[in-house]
């Protein structure tokens, strides 16, 4: 695209921007972005001046576009319906649809809350009740977001949402294995105190050396295995969460700035 065509479309967009000041800011921004996208797509194949003029002609004047947008905004009841009396059904549909709350598709505090709470819940696992509360708030915010698509919500739920439960499980296992270690220490003391040789020589204790060793070893190694497994799962989940947060943050660009 050479300077001619760039100037043509830029000039059009500038006029549109000016005209669109009659509209609410977010609507104006959206319209200009849509038209910019349209012009970019329309001139992609042929960027000559002649074609660009043709595209702009077909597009309509900035005044016409903004008038239409104003008309849509003021169009609270149904668009003009055809005469026959029996044709109220789709007017009713339109009216019912308009009665619904107007969702904002822009990034809002809800999205920030969702991400912050879900991450906070897994990081702040030590403060368990607080973390649990944050986790619930985060999940609800995620689910009720109006910016994210269902797919994005599912992604967020499966990655960020699982962080807290996983951290909770890890914490519980850590506590249990710590208690096992203390128990082990106790067992060791008993084991050492009544050492194998003395047992064997006594001959009456069932506790032979192999059993003792397996008792002392099993609990240690099994919690060790579980923690290792959790660490691996945690690492994978962490990577998944980083990817998820990155994707969810893409929604910030969803209402293009002018």
């Amino acid at each position: 695209m050479n300077a001619e065509e760039t100037t043509l479309t830029d000039s059009y967009l500038a006029q549109l921007q000016e005209e669109a000041r009659q509209l609410p800011a977010d609507q104006a921004a959206e319209m200009v972005a849509d038209i910019r996208e349209h012009l970019s797509a329309a001139t992609a194949g042929d960027a000559s001046e002649a074609h660009t003029r043709e595209v702009l002609d077909r597009l309509g004047s900035p005044q016409a576009l903004v008038a239409e947008a104003l008309g849509e905004a003021g169009n609270a009841p149904a668009a003009p319906t055809p005469p026959p009396a029996s044709q109220s059904p789709y007017a009713d549909i339109l009216a019912a649809a308009r009665r619904r709350a107007t969702p904002s598709t822009t990034w809002s505090g809800r999205e920030t809350t969702a991400i912050a709470c879900l991450i906070g819940a897994e990081v702040g696992i030590i403060l368990f009740p607080l973390a649990a509360g944050a986790w619930l708030v985060g999940l609800i915010s995620l689910a009720t977001s109006r910016t994210w698509t269902s797919r994005e919500k599912t992604l967020g739920g499966l990655t960020l949402g699982l962080g807290f439960p996983l951290a909770a499980i890890a914490a519980i296992v850590a506590v249990i294995s710590a208690q096992w270690s203390l128990f082990n220490l106790g067992v060791h003391r008993i084991c050492d105190f009544g050492n194998p040789s003395s047992f064997n020589s006594a001959g009456t204790f069932g506790l032979g050396e192999p059993t003792q060793i397996s008792l002392c070893r099993t609990s240690g190694s099994s919690s060790h295995t579980v923690l290792t497994a959790l660490a691996i799962v945690g690492a994978i989940l962490l990577v998944a969460q980083i990817v998820a947060v990155w994707k969810l943050l893409q929604a910030r660009h969803r209402t293009p700035a002018v």
């Binding site: 319209m31 996208e37 349209h38 329309a42 849509e72 668009a79 059904p89 649809a97 619904r100 893409q250």
Partner: protein
Amino acid sequence: MAPLDSAVTQLRRGALEYCVLALLADEERYGYDLVTELSEAGLVASEGTIYPLLSRLRKEELVATSWQESPNGPPRRYYRLTAHGQRALASFQDSWSDFKNSVDQILKGKDRR
């Protein structure tokens, strides 16, 4: 496009959004594709006026949009029909059918009284 009499213009306006929904019934489309198809079908005078309509349909949750990467250039808006939009379209198709038949009958001069 030649100037139209206001009744037909009104009909067009009323039907236009359902035409948008119908175009999305089978597949998701880029905004630009929707606009050019409607324009080629002669349903709009100026292509740009479809964008406010699309914006309203989005607000009313009859359509939903997502951003798709495009091979040449910035991400583009991709439109799809929502469940709500599907129901609205189905309802309109019935209404339109009845309306069309009623008007046709009268225009053909059949006495309905």
